[in-house]
Symmetry: C2
Subunit: 517 residues, 2 copies
Amino acid sequence: MRLAGLALGLTPLLPPAPVALAPSGQEAAVEAARAWRETHGVEILEEFAGLLAVPSVAADRAGLARCAALLAEAFTRRGATMELVEREGAAPLVIGRIDAPGATRTLGLYVHYDGQPVSPEDWTDPPFEPTLRDAPVEQGGARLSLSALAPESPGARRAWPAEWRLYARGAGDDKAPLIALLAALDALAAADLAPTSSFVFAFEGEEEAGSTHLRELFEAAKPALACDLWLVCDGPVHQSRRPQLVFGVRGVTSLELTTYGAARPLHSGHYGNWAPNPALELARLLASMKDARGRVLVEGYYDTVQPLGAAERAALAALPEFEQALRAELGLAQSEGEGASLAERIALPSLNIRGLRSADVGAAARNIIPASATAALDLRLVRGNDPARMQERVVAHVRAQGWKVIETEPDLATRRAHPRLLRVQRGQGYRAVRTPLDHPLVPALSSAALAAAGEAPLLVPSLGGSLPLYLFEDVLGTPMVIVPIANHDDNQHAADENLRLANLAYGIDLFAALLRL
Amino acid sequence: MRLAGLALGLTPLLPPAPVALAPSGQEAAVEAARAWRETHGVEILEEFAGLLAVPSVAADRAGLARCAALLAEAFTRRGATMELVEREGAAPLVIGRIDAPGATRTLGLYVHYDGQPVSPEDWTDPPFEPTLRDAPVEQGGARLSLSALAPESPGARRAWPAEWRLYARGAGDDKAPLIALLAALDALAAADLAPTSSFVFAFEGEEEAGSTHLRELFEAAKPALACDLWLVCDGPVHQSRRPQLVFGVRGVTSLELTTYGAARPLHSGHYGNWAPNPALELARLLASMKDARGRVLVEGYYDTVQPLGAAERAALAALPEFEQALRAELGLAQSEGEGASLAERIALPSLNIRGLRSADVGAAARNIIPASATAALDLRLVRGNDPARMQERVVAHVRAQGWKVIETEPDLATRRAHPRLLRVQRGQGYRAVRTPLDHPLVPALSSAALAAAGEAPLLVPSLGGSLPLYLFEDVLGTPMVIVPIANHDDNQHAADENLRLANLAYGIDLFAALLRL
């Protein structure tokens, strides 16, 4: 992503999502943000480092509580009204609000302040001792003092080197939006620019632990969280470093299917081609579920899919082609779906074999007829699919192939009674969510991203992955859009997590523009 | 198995294998054997115990050598000409001969004197301290002194209690035929009955270690091992305790097939239903190999099967029905092959999935598209099937389904070039062997078993399992018949291995009859 300057004329407009050119209010906000961070870079990094030094990971309840308190205090200092929503066994949900007098809209900002667990021995720098480097550590980036970002003289401006990176757990996922928002508030205050929308905040402390209490916390805080649209500030921008706005995620659920042969593994010589082989039976069943072109053959599997609208189809068509390079990187001669793009395929529910096991292969293999065979399946869901009903469609398909479906390990009598016996174990799951691309706020969001990045954002109807974002709709009754700022190569969830300074700059500039939407 | 007395009129004749009633020569031999063992039971058990006390297992080279020497000496004492065939790294092959003046035939007797490895902590009695018990140890059988088998007064006869058992490694598998043969030689000598056939012996010391040197040892000893038919004295009689003669074993080989997806496991959300799933592709391939009735669909898979002759088909028809009970025991509602019997199915080559693996199932399952999937197959072969050619038929089937077959792990360039890439790894193997049931010596063997057991033996065309018995044909140029004597419940290969006295008695009586064939 390019950092500075408007790129008028250079930025392709993405039809038909009407991306207006950044209006002057947002230009002014972005210029204020840039002026602030180019004169106060060291202070921003120091506050960020303070936030990153708090070990807010699931294993450290005290660290999570300290981080929540620190955030409440930092936002209170900027004039927000903050509160901690606490529930037994849950990390606090930090909520807050900034009211703009006369504002006609309220935007919600969701960020999570917890990070993935760490294995410190895998890190170059200690994960909770934030470290600035002048390039990626794996490219030999050298350590710098945070004060390396200071201007040459007091009051002078110092452009931010795009490729410097700050290393720490949570730098990219997901404390970056928190510090960017704090800096943007400072920048606008310094330029005497008040927010033009009201804002509510929800900062979660359990995202990396599965958002176990989010429904309960949202329900408790619901009146305080009323708004027009939630901006979910998480995840990375596009691999091309272009900014993006993402309008949905897939839902997910899982199934495990186990077929049975004899009650014990049998000698494959004494019983081979007399005793039925559960691995072969399972293979035949799995093969019946999807054709060679990648179409799921389970009856009704696509019936409840809510099709993409015209805006979504146009956005897909406008996405840059990168699949040839991706196939080459992954060593794939072709992809499923007869040439359909990845984004098109993601708009459909998937039926994936995530694991397969029957007895052993390799050196551990023995000449037996296995006693059972198991396939673990995951189902990625799109808007319109109900997780339990999608599971049932697969189970109905199994039954239609002549299987007796059971829920527990069969006893001898059950085995004797049914030639084809299959145990199904249903996993948990949740539905997909997808905000329509013609939502009235999309043009404004796009122009904010354009003002901050100098190029229009990619509009992505849905990620392929799954997050429990349906809670925004289900509990709060509000649509959401994902607004990522981190670099895609931030080592999210791994060792040496980092944030590129260019992406921190984009975040500050973007939040300044959003505050003046 | 009933022990004593002829069962004329009670024994069903098995058409069309012409089982003659035991001629008087064999009756006299069996009566001599019975008289001998009922007067010399203690001496027989003591000599057996001496043989079993030698730890002739693969880990004990000295024990193997001692056992070989002991056998050579014991048979030399009975008038046989014995020799040890030794090769670097091999346990000795003990060979020998007994020439019957004027005999028109020579029979070979194969036995192995090595036993399976032991885990002494699992045994009730120490595996190399032979222990007599008056019932199976798991039924509370009490320890007896070997002298418990002594007659009440010197010269009186003492019938053998059928259910007493001698516990030691090798008691059933496979030292029983050695002591039975020694006792039979003593019995005939005491009754002044000379053998009516010449005999050659081959006692192997590496059967439980895979008969690694048997080809080499047979080649070295070939001139001394010339005979008309080998009797392979190993394995148990039928589960019903009826005696049996077995005319063949299946061959065996194996294949491992690995399919490939992307070069690394992929997030099933980000890439699910775009990146091909190698587990599904493998399932589809496996499903194409066999139909729902159990027929292998690989082209030409049955082409080289040497069909059963009339005698074999009649023998199969005469086998007792036990499959209903077997299915009930195994928890099977039905078996493959549309009602064909186990013995009929064993007469065909099998294609068995012995293992299946792709990523993980159960608690370890993750939401990924696996990078590869592997199926381990074993192929059980029947007479006429060449192991390498049968492997190639399967590989040709894979190719015919559109797969590029490779022999090593693919590099990125290979992956990019071929949408369906399958690695094949070929296992070792050997062919089946099956002696025709109309071999001219079958009636005589059957009548010997009848004379010894009081009921006609089951005639089994082939075991389902595999042993490298093709070496008798390939190296020595001689057919073979398996002549088992041990009880099926002898804990072969496990702890508390034992031989039932009824089975030892059958062995002694049978060898006496065979010596007077």
